[in-house]
Symmetry: C2
Subunit: 223 residues, 2 copies
């Protein structure tokens, strides 16, 4: 497919751009492929450009010196990876890592061309700002639950304990029940369970939670 | 003092603005005073506008249902309080609270006028974006240290233990020594101690750490 058609299908604000902006982006854009496990962005050291995901998935995470990781969010089809263009944003002093999780095809707008485009397009700047605050909102949610409520820890401990009590790795629990037991809201439990599921710690079925990785669960519960 | 002089002295990008932008801001700006303890911004419910701090200090924090707080950062003279204008930033889904910590005088640009100004001024938009990423960098640092390394907890436990061992509330320790004992970098310890100092948990003097609030320290260590 031609690159401007790919952009029209995957870059969500394409219709809002002027034809001059469209031409600039089309001329700058290159298709890239990543294989699962490949590093896409590693801390503040590299700055390849803006990435628009066409297929596959990417995972953004923090990592400490000993290699321990916390997943911050995941990106799927039509999502934008902003941190690979983070050198455009001044005053960012923290490092986020982005890896390819499932084989991915992306459109890359290389950093120099992206800089020039964003400097001259209020539409693109406003859009990337919205993405930035939305990513930060995801991160703040994790922060709040982990640092504040220790919800990851409490939920992990709860799942281990209940699975031990019931003598099975499959818990026939509603999210509502867990929320009541842990004194929080159903939405919060659902979101944290979803986080565990994406981390391959549990599998979620209707009113069922299947524990897949007891070791990881007990590591979290002992944090 | 006239308000445009106050703005010239305290709004750090004043010189970069066009005279039209200066006039708009001067006409919109109002002086406000807050007393210590007063709420300035409470979650996503209010949106008074952009605040430029002239004197005093403000504290930004997260709070859970039971009233437990985590300080995220503090604002001083010439700093900008962006979260009181956060309704301008779409896709922010988390709540930050801002209180006055020391009696403060501020310039407020009310939200409707601020919206109009930022919509038409790339200079102001770029500046507020830089502030936003800088605040988020502060928050990410706290997140990393708390959720990842449990550094607040480990440092609190360390200070209690050492003060017990030495039989005194005044520890003649360098930050370097503590960093070595806890297996981290001196800069990280200095910054966390500074955080404790602003929270009035310790007082820092040259190569001396005075424990002021043992109760708070032991709460942190038992988190």
């Amino acid at each position: 497919m031609e690159i401007n058609k790919i952009l029209a299908n995957n870059f969500l604000i394409w219709d809002k751009l002027t034809s001059e902006e469209k031409t600039k982006i089309t001329n700058a854009a290159v298709i890239k492929r990543f294989v699962a496990g490949e590093a896409i962005h590693h801390g503040s050291y590299d700055c390849s450009g803006l990435i628009i995901l066409i297929s596959g998935s990417l995972r953004a995470y923090m990592m400490n010196e000993s290699g321990k990781q916390i997943t911050l969010y995941r990106l799927f089809e039509k999502d934008i990876c902003l941190f690979s263009a983070s050198c455009v944003m001044k005053d960012i002093t923290f490092d986020i890592y982005v890896d390819c999780e499932k084989d991915a095809t992306v459109v890359l707008i290389p950093i120099n061309q992206y800089k020039e485009i964003v400097d001259n397009s209020r539409t693109i700047l406003d859009y990337t700002n919205r993405i930035l605050t939305s990513r930060f909102s995801d991160i703040m949610w994790i922060f709040e639950q982990m640092a504040f409520h220790s919800l990851d820890k409490r939920l992990a401990y709860y799942l281990i304990e209940q699975s031990y009590n019931e003598g099975t790795n499959t818990l026939n629990f509603t999210h509502e029940k867990i929320a009541n037991d842990l004194g929080t809201a159903r939405e919060v439990i659902s979101r944290m369970l979803k986080y565990f599921e994406l981390e391959k710690i549990v599998e979620l079925k209707r009113n069922k939670i299947i524990i897949l990785d007891e070791k990881k669960l007990s590591e979290i519960s002992e944090k």
